[in-house]
Protein backbone atom coordinates (compact mmCIF):
# COMPACT_ATOMS: atom_id res chain seq x y z
CA UNK A 1 0.00 0.00 0.00
CA UNK A 2 1.17 3.50 -0.82
CA UNK A 3 -0.40 6.80 0.18
CA UNK A 4 0.11 10.19 -1.47
CA UNK A 5 -1.53 13.37 -0.30
CA UNK A 6 -2.08 16.77 -1.88
CA UNK A 7 -4.24 19.76 -1.04
CA UNK A 8 -6.86 21.04 -3.50
CA UNK A 9 -8.64 24.10 -2.09
CA UNK A 10 -9.87 22.90 1.32
CA UNK A 11 -9.84 19.27 0.37
CA UNK A 12 -7.08 16.82 1.25
CA UNK A 13 -6.83 14.45 -1.70
CA UNK A 14 -5.49 11.10 -0.51
CA UNK A 15 -4.43 8.74 -3.30
CA UNK A 16 -4.11 5.20 -2.05
CA UNK A 17 -2.69 2.42 -4.20
CA UNK A 18 -2.00 -1.30 -3.83
CA UNK A 19 -3.79 -3.33 -1.17
CA UNK A 20 -5.50 -2.38 2.07
CA UNK A 21 -5.62 -5.63 4.00
CA UNK A 22 -5.51 -6.51 7.69
CA UNK A 23 -1.75 -5.89 7.69
CA UNK A 24 -1.76 -2.48 5.98
CA UNK A 25 -5.09 -1.08 7.26
CA UNK A 26 -3.63 0.16 10.59
CA UNK A 27 -1.03 2.20 8.64
CA UNK A 28 -3.77 3.69 6.49
CA UNK A 29 -5.79 4.65 9.56
CA UNK A 30 -2.76 6.11 11.35
CA UNK A 31 -1.78 8.14 8.29
CA UNK A 32 -5.25 9.70 8.00
CA UNK A 33 -5.52 10.25 11.75
CA UNK A 34 -2.35 12.32 11.57
CA UNK A 35 -3.98 14.55 8.97
CA UNK A 36 -7.05 14.95 11.17
CA UNK A 37 -4.68 15.87 13.99
CA UNK A 38 -3.14 18.47 11.70
CA UNK A 39 -6.58 20.04 11.26
CA UNK A 40 -7.78 18.54 7.98
CA UNK A 41 -11.56 18.22 7.81
CA UNK A 42 -12.44 17.20 4.26
CA UNK A 43 -10.90 14.08 2.76
CA UNK A 44 -11.22 12.81 -0.79
CA UNK A 45 -9.97 9.24 -0.91
CA UNK A 46 -8.89 8.55 -4.46
CA UNK A 47 -8.97 4.84 -5.20
CA UNK A 48 -8.12 4.53 -8.91
CA UNK A 49 -4.97 2.60 -8.08
CA UNK A 50 -6.38 0.58 -5.20
CA UNK A 51 -6.51 -3.08 -6.23
CA UNK A 52 -7.93 -4.65 -3.09
CA UNK A 53 -9.61 -3.84 0.20
CA UNK A 54 -10.82 -6.21 2.91
CA UNK A 55 -13.13 -5.65 5.90
CA UNK A 56 -10.10 -4.49 7.89
CA UNK A 57 -9.75 -1.59 5.43
CA UNK A 58 -13.45 -0.78 5.70
CA UNK A 59 -13.12 -0.83 9.48
CA UNK A 60 -10.37 1.82 9.25
CA UNK A 61 -12.43 3.94 6.85
CA UNK A 62 -15.43 3.82 9.19
CA UNK A 63 -13.29 4.70 12.21
CA UNK A 64 -11.88 7.76 10.41
CA UNK A 65 -15.31 8.78 9.10
CA UNK A 66 -16.77 8.66 12.61
CA UNK A 67 -14.02 10.91 13.97
CA UNK A 68 -14.46 13.35 11.08
CA UNK A 69 -18.17 13.52 11.68
CA UNK A 70 -17.67 14.64 15.27
CA UNK A 71 -15.49 17.47 13.92
CA UNK A 72 -17.96 18.46 11.22
CA UNK A 73 -15.65 17.10 8.57
CA UNK A 74 -16.30 14.47 5.96
CA UNK A 75 -14.83 11.81 3.77
CA UNK A 76 -15.74 11.22 0.14
CA UNK A 77 -14.39 8.81 -2.45
CA UNK A 78 -13.52 8.63 -6.13
CA UNK A 79 -12.40 6.17 -8.75
CA UNK A 80 -13.39 2.84 -7.19
CA UNK A 81 -12.37 -0.05 -9.45
CA UNK A 82 -13.25 -3.74 -9.81
CA UNK A 83 -13.00 -5.64 -6.52
CA UNK A 84 -12.93 -2.46 -4.44
CA UNK A 85 -16.18 -1.31 -6.02
CA UNK A 86 -17.72 -4.73 -5.33
CA UNK A 87 -16.68 -4.67 -1.68
CA UNK A 88 -18.19 -1.20 -1.22
CA UNK A 89 -21.41 -2.44 -2.77
CA UNK A 90 -21.73 -5.66 -0.75
CA UNK A 91 -20.89 -3.94 2.53
CA UNK A 92 -23.36 -1.10 2.03
CA UNK A 93 -20.48 1.43 2.13
CA UNK A 94 -21.50 2.48 -1.37
CA UNK A 95 -24.75 3.81 0.13
CA UNK A 96 -23.43 5.44 3.30
CA UNK A 97 -20.63 7.36 1.57
CA UNK A 98 -20.66 9.73 -1.38
CA UNK A 99 -18.68 8.30 -4.28
CA UNK A 100 -17.68 10.09 -7.47
CA UNK A 101 -16.37 8.61 -10.69
CA UNK A 102 -13.36 10.91 -10.85
CA UNK A 103 -11.35 13.28 -8.69
CA UNK A 104 -12.48 16.17 -10.93
CA UNK A 105 -16.17 15.37 -10.34
CA UNK A 106 -15.59 15.19 -6.60
CA UNK A 107 -13.69 18.49 -6.42
CA UNK A 108 -16.41 20.33 -8.35
CA UNK A 109 -18.56 20.06 -5.22
CA UNK A 110 -16.27 22.44 -3.35
Amino acid sequence: MEINKKKEKDVLVVSVSGRIDAVTAPDFEKNLSESIGAGEKTFLIKMNQLEYISSAGLRSILAIAKVLKTREGKMIFSGLQGPVKDVFKISGFGSIFTIYDTEEDALKQF
Partner: protein, 147 residues
Amino acid sequence: MDDNVQSIVVPAHLNSLQKSVAFVSSFTRKLGFDSRRLSEIDLCVEEVLVNIFNYAYPGEQGEVEISCRSGPEGTLTVKIVDSGIPFNILSSDDPDISANIDERHIGGLGIYFVKQLMDRVEYRRENNKNILSLINNSAAVSRPVDK
Protein backbone atom coordinates in the same frame (compact mmCIF):
# COMPACT_ATOMS: atom_id res chain seq x y z
CA MET B 1 -8.05 -33.53 -14.62
CA ASP B 2 -7.23 -35.36 -11.36
CA ASP B 3 -7.55 -33.84 -7.95
CA ASN B 4 -4.64 -31.61 -7.22
CA VAL B 5 -3.97 -30.70 -3.58
CA GLN B 6 -1.48 -28.38 -1.96
CA SER B 7 -1.31 -27.32 1.64
CA ILE B 8 0.68 -25.25 4.11
CA VAL B 9 0.66 -24.80 7.86
CA VAL B 10 1.30 -21.33 9.27
CA PRO B 11 1.38 -19.80 12.76
CA ALA B 12 -2.00 -18.29 13.65
CA HIS B 13 -0.68 -14.75 13.58
CA LEU B 14 -1.29 -11.70 11.42
CA ASN B 15 2.32 -11.99 10.23
CA SER B 16 1.24 -15.11 8.30
CA LEU B 17 -1.46 -13.34 6.32
CA GLN B 18 0.42 -12.23 3.25
CA LYS B 19 2.23 -15.54 2.88
CA SER B 20 -1.05 -17.45 3.23
CA VAL B 21 -2.94 -15.35 0.70
CA ALA B 22 0.01 -15.61 -1.72
CA PHE B 23 -0.04 -19.40 -1.31
CA VAL B 24 -3.75 -19.61 -2.17
CA SER B 25 -3.36 -17.13 -5.06
CA SER B 26 -0.56 -19.10 -6.65
CA PHE B 27 -2.86 -22.14 -6.68
CA THR B 28 -6.07 -20.44 -7.82
CA ARG B 29 -4.39 -18.48 -10.60
CA LYS B 30 -3.85 -21.71 -12.54
CA LEU B 31 -7.54 -22.61 -12.59
CA GLY B 32 -8.87 -20.14 -15.13
CA PHE B 33 -10.89 -17.90 -12.81
CA ASP B 34 -11.21 -14.29 -13.95
CA SER B 35 -9.45 -11.55 -11.99
CA ARG B 36 -12.63 -10.53 -10.17
CA ARG B 37 -13.21 -14.06 -8.91
CA LEU B 38 -9.56 -14.43 -7.92
CA SER B 39 -9.81 -11.27 -5.89
CA GLU B 40 -13.02 -12.47 -4.21
CA ILE B 41 -11.29 -15.71 -3.23
CA ASP B 42 -8.29 -13.76 -1.82
CA LEU B 43 -10.72 -11.63 0.15
CA CYS B 44 -12.62 -14.56 1.66
CA VAL B 45 -9.40 -16.36 2.58
CA GLU B 46 -8.13 -13.20 4.28
CA GLU B 47 -11.38 -12.71 6.19
CA VAL B 48 -11.45 -16.29 7.51
CA LEU B 49 -7.75 -16.24 8.45
CA VAL B 50 -7.85 -12.88 10.20
CA ASN B 51 -10.79 -14.10 12.24
CA ILE B 52 -8.81 -17.17 13.29
CA PHE B 53 -5.65 -15.11 13.97
CA ASN B 54 -7.62 -12.73 16.20
CA TYR B 55 -9.97 -15.05 18.05
CA ALA B 56 -9.20 -18.77 17.74
CA TYR B 57 -6.35 -18.98 20.24
CA PRO B 58 -6.94 -16.40 22.98
CA GLY B 59 -3.72 -15.90 24.93
CA GLU B 60 -1.86 -18.76 23.30
CA GLN B 61 0.00 -19.73 20.12
CA GLY B 62 -1.64 -21.88 17.48
CA GLU B 63 -1.48 -22.97 13.89
CA VAL B 64 -3.68 -22.92 10.83
CA GLU B 65 -3.58 -25.39 7.98
CA ILE B 66 -4.66 -24.17 4.57
CA SER B 67 -5.28 -26.65 1.76
CA CYS B 68 -6.29 -25.94 -1.80
CA ARG B 69 -7.87 -28.67 -3.88
CA SER B 70 -9.02 -28.55 -7.48
CA GLY B 71 -11.45 -31.33 -8.33
CA PRO B 72 -12.08 -33.19 -11.57
CA GLU B 73 -14.80 -30.74 -12.65
CA GLY B 74 -12.57 -27.74 -11.92
CA THR B 75 -14.16 -27.13 -8.52
CA LEU B 76 -11.90 -25.27 -6.12
CA THR B 77 -12.04 -26.03 -2.40
CA VAL B 78 -9.99 -24.01 0.07
CA LYS B 79 -10.02 -25.83 3.40
CA ILE B 80 -8.94 -23.94 6.51
CA VAL B 81 -8.36 -25.90 9.71
CA ASP B 82 -7.53 -24.63 13.20
CA SER B 83 -7.48 -26.26 16.64
CA GLY B 84 -8.79 -23.19 18.44
CA ILE B 85 -12.04 -22.51 20.24
CA PRO B 86 -15.12 -23.81 18.39
CA PHE B 87 -16.50 -21.26 15.95
CA ASN B 88 -18.98 -21.82 13.17
CA ILE B 89 -19.04 -18.79 10.90
CA LEU B 90 -22.28 -20.00 9.36
CA SER B 91 -24.12 -19.45 12.64
CA SER B 92 -23.03 -15.82 13.05
CA ASP B 93 -25.51 -13.00 12.49
CA ASP B 94 -25.27 -10.83 9.40
CA PRO B 95 -24.41 -7.15 9.95
CA ASP B 96 -26.92 -4.37 9.30
CA ILE B 97 -25.49 -3.04 6.05
CA SER B 98 -28.05 -0.24 5.75
CA ALA B 99 -27.04 1.62 8.95
CA ASN B 100 -25.57 5.13 8.56
CA ILE B 101 -22.08 6.22 9.66
CA ASP B 102 -23.10 6.92 13.28
CA GLU B 103 -25.02 3.71 13.81
CA ARG B 104 -22.83 1.48 11.74
CA HIS B 105 -20.86 -1.23 13.52
CA ILE B 106 -18.14 -2.92 11.58
CA GLY B 107 -18.21 -6.34 13.22
CA GLY B 108 -19.25 -9.33 11.18
CA LEU B 109 -18.56 -7.81 7.79
CA GLY B 110 -15.70 -10.15 6.89
CA ILE B 111 -17.81 -13.22 7.59
CA TYR B 112 -20.68 -11.69 5.66
CA PHE B 113 -18.38 -11.35 2.62
CA VAL B 114 -17.49 -15.03 2.86
CA LYS B 115 -21.15 -16.07 3.00
CA GLN B 116 -22.07 -13.76 0.12
CA LEU B 117 -19.19 -14.45 -2.23
CA MET B 118 -18.36 -18.14 -2.04
CA ASP B 119 -20.55 -20.62 -3.92
CA ARG B 120 -20.73 -22.85 -0.87
CA VAL B 121 -19.33 -22.78 2.67
CA GLU B 122 -19.20 -25.86 4.88
CA TYR B 123 -18.23 -26.06 8.53
CA ARG B 124 -17.63 -29.02 10.79
CA ARG B 125 -16.07 -29.52 14.18
CA GLU B 126 -14.05 -32.71 14.29
CA ASN B 127 -11.32 -33.97 16.66
CA ASN B 128 -11.32 -30.59 18.40
CA LYS B 129 -10.68 -28.80 15.12
CA ASN B 130 -12.67 -26.20 13.20
CA ILE B 131 -12.78 -27.32 9.58
CA LEU B 132 -14.06 -24.72 7.17
CA SER B 133 -14.34 -25.34 3.43
CA LEU B 134 -14.79 -22.52 0.92
CA ILE B 135 -16.09 -24.13 -2.24
CA ASN B 136 -16.13 -22.52 -5.66
CA ASN B 137 -17.66 -23.86 -8.83
CA SER B 138 -15.46 -24.32 -11.84
CA ALA B 139 -14.39 -21.19 -13.68
CA ALA B 140 -16.26 -22.68 -16.64
CA VAL B 141 -19.62 -22.52 -14.83
CA SER B 142 -21.35 -19.27 -15.65
CA ARG B 143 -22.22 -17.15 -12.67
CA PRO B 144 -24.64 -14.31 -12.12
CA VAL B 145 -22.89 -11.09 -13.14
CA ASP B 146 -24.23 -9.10 -10.23
CA LYS B 147 -24.33 -11.48 -7.34
